[in-house]
């Protein structure tokens, strides 16, 4: 009996080995496509001189790093500004999205689809003309050039992720647990705070990731509302990139990746499949 089973096992392990051929090719190609551009960026950060017909840089060195981190280079200051704005944006969005998400997931709401859609709108209209108008509004109420102003703009832009994912997170929570808590005599608010919120927390963290990334990425609004008082990294990156200074742009891009990747490593375990499956529904 056992001998009969053993033969197919050998056969299957051979088959498995052969299957690694296409697997390795496809996964290798995927890895190249994903990490190739990042690697190219890394090469640029240490390239001192690089021109035709050289496939690789002629000299390597860190002189451009010195320029980026020069006291006047603004890089570190912008990095701190970018990160703090992103964190404030996350806090603000979550504060708005938790009640809204709960209502969308659990409560009776007229025109629910339209409400969800309303949050999508700031993503859907090209921002440039709108930010020109917002800047005017902010000048009148003294919000222009303040961190709060930039945060508000980023919150508006990021709410779609916050609200949609928060709503998915709440609807993924088992309703019976909530009812059980209520039956045991907990008030509605207590049941929410003790049962629903902790259970939805991983999903809410997931929404935080996307809001954080949106905020780090945002450029147009930051410029119109923030500069010159608030300078963020994308602003530096854009002007270096557009000026063709690939070394400075690549170093700035690398800097911008640091908070993104760090944030990802911290919260990635919260990206739960069952929650994400319900986003926007």
């Amino acid at each position: 009996m056992s001998a009969v089973l053993a033969a197919p096992r050998d056969y299957s392990s051979l088959r498995n080995l052969l299957w690694w051929l296409p697997r390795a090719v496809i996964l290798g190609a995927l890895a190249f496509v994903i990490f190739g551009p990042l690697f190219n960026m890394l090469v640029w950060t240490v390239a001192e001189r690089w021109y035709f017909p050289h496939t690789l840089p002629i000299d390597y060195g860190f002189s451009y790093w010195g320029r980026v981190f020069a006291p006047r280079g603004n890089a570190l200051q912008s990095l701190v500004a970018s990160i703090s704005i992103a964190l404030f944006t996350v806090a603000g969005s979550l504060a708005l999205a938790i009640p809204a998400g709960y209502a969308l997931a659990r409560l009776k709401l007229p025109l629910r689809g339209l409400v969800l859609l309303a949050f999508l709108l700031p993503q859907a209209f090209p921002n440039l003309p709108v930010y020109v108008n917002i800047a005017r509004l902010f000048y009148e109420i003294g919000l222009n050039g303040t961190v709060l102003g930039v945060v508000l703009v980023h919150v508006t832009h990021g709410l779609v992720y916050a609200v949609w994912i928060a709503s998915a997170a709440f609807s993924a929570v088992d309703r019976d647990l909530e009812l059980a808590a209520r039956n045991l005599g907990a008030s509605g608010l207590k049941a929410f705070a003790d049962v629903t919120l902790p259970l939805a927390a991983p999903g809410l963290m997931a929404s935080a990731i996307f809001v954080f990334l949106e905020s780090l990425d945002e450029f147009t609004g930051s410029y119109f509302v923030g500069a010159p008082d608030v300078t963020t990294l994308p602003l530096l990156l854009y002007s270096a990139g557009a000026g063709g200074n690939y070394q400075i742009a690549s170093i700035t891009a690398l800097l911008l990746l640091v908070p993104s990747i760090a944030f990802m490593l911290v919260v990635e375990k919260f990206l739960r499949a069952d929650v994400l499956a319900k986003v926007g529904q």
Binding site: Y51, A135, Y139, G145, P228, A242, G244
Partner: protein, 379 residues
């Protein structure tokens, strides 16, 4: 007695005020090298001469978009009726000086500073058809030209007609950045219109504006459309230089100063050269302006005065950043040794510049040409 005391306190306060620490906000359009110029050179010098004060430089991005953003900020602050604005000194493209003066946003300061009388070029009095005399100080003058790789093109075309012919024979080898990615492409298009349209180039450059001229451009744009088919379109001023440095194109219009700076930085092969094709290509100044509601107006004037002094123009503008000076050339030349001065004129001689360095067309022609390009070449 009391009054005397009060008076002397006031006097003291006034005396002391320039020394009070102020942060001067300098906002500049243009490529990264503009921000670098202030951060690496001008700001440290200014801070050294005016202890306690600091300079903060903010770049708003290349091309017209950068200047537009500055104008946008001024518009917003004017509309909001802000008592003081957030900018002390702005550096803008020639094209935006006119609208800013017309809107009444600027301070007329040229006569108040010592270097005001060193300005001799007409483009500081009149910016593309608008009288801006007194409101602007030119930071530098720049020029576009065609860069080429002698290894690939031993005998470069010397005129627009020859360029057209050459590009046809070498498809994909001529690159320019259209009109949406910075002014070197725009400049090439303007030069094309000067060369091939039925309009008199003098009229396009110096006026008067006449809408009927537009009808005379059809052939030029038909030719440009044909030409663009055999050209490579590059992403931006820097994109053209980048493709030249990677050998992907052999010929393309660039800003002369960027070209030299890139070469000095090791980002362009040292062999590349420049040619200014006949009948000529445009160049333009960048202007220092001071908003009428600048928070530190006195300090701002001092800053511009320093920036336009012969020494700074020689050391910073010519020697370090390879621009043509904004103030009178003779004043600047006196501050430099011949070798440094001549470095500016290796490929393009002063005679070339005098003959083939043109201004951009008047603002209304400028707009009409760009729109015609969009409608007839790009669409």
């Amino acid at each position: 007695m009391n009054k005397l005391l009060l008076n002397s306190t006031v006097a003291l306060a006034i005396l002391a005020s320039p020394a009070a620490a102020a942060e001067l906000t300098v906002i500049t359009a243009g490529d990264q090298n503009m921000v670098d110029y202030i951060n690496d050179y001008l700001a440290p010098l200014f801070e050294q001469q005016n202890p306690g004060n600091t300079v903060r430089a903010v770049g708003t991005g290349p091309g017209d978009a950068g200047s537009q953003k500055i104008l946008e900020r001024f518009d917003a602050q004017a509309k909001a009726d802000a008592a003081t604005w957030d900018t002390d000194v702005a550096i803008v493209h020639e094209k935006f000086a006119g609208p800013m003066v017309q809107a009444g946003y600027l301070e007329a300061y040229r006569d108040k500073i010592a270097t005001g009388k060193l300005v001799t070029r007409a483009n500081a009095d009149n910016a593309l058809g608008t009288d801006v005399k007194g409101y602007v100080m030119p930071m530098f003058n720049s020029q576009t030209a065609v860069a080429y790789n002698p290894a690939l093109v031993p005998n470069p075309p010397k005129s627009y007609a020859e360029i057209a012919e050459w590009a046809k024979a070498h498809p994909g080898q001529f690159g320019y950045n259209g009109i949406k990615g910075g002014a070197s492409g725009v400049s090439f298009v303007m030069g094309w219109v000067y060369a091939f349209s039925g309009s008199d180039a003098q009229k396009l450059m110096y006026g008067p504006f006449d809408k009927a001229e537009e009808a005379k451009w059809d052939d030029a744009f038909a030719g440009l459309k044909e030409f663009t088919k055999s050209a490579t379109l590059t992403p931006g001023n820097a994109g053209t230089l980048d493709l030249l440095s990677r050998g992907e194109i052999a010929l393309g219009p660039v800003w002369v100063d960027m070209f030299y700076s890139w070469q000095a930085d090791g980002r362009l092969p040292p062999e590349l050269k420049l040619v200014l094709p006949a009948p000529g290509m445009p160049g333009q100044p960048m202007h220092y302006v001071i908003p009428a509601k600048a928070p530190n107006k006195d300090l701002a004037e001092k800053f511009v005065e320093l920036a336009t002094s012969p020494k700074v123009q020689a050391e910073g503008i010519v020697k370090k950043f390879n621009w043509y000076p904004g103030i009178d050339a003779d004043e600047v030349k006196a501050e430099l040794d011949d070798a440094t001065w001549n470095k500016l004129f290796v490929d393009i001689t002063p005679a070339d510049l005098a003959e083939k360095g043109k201004p951009f067309p008047l603002a209304p022609y400028n707009t009409a040409i760009l729109e015609a390009y969009e409608a007839k070449v790009a669409n």
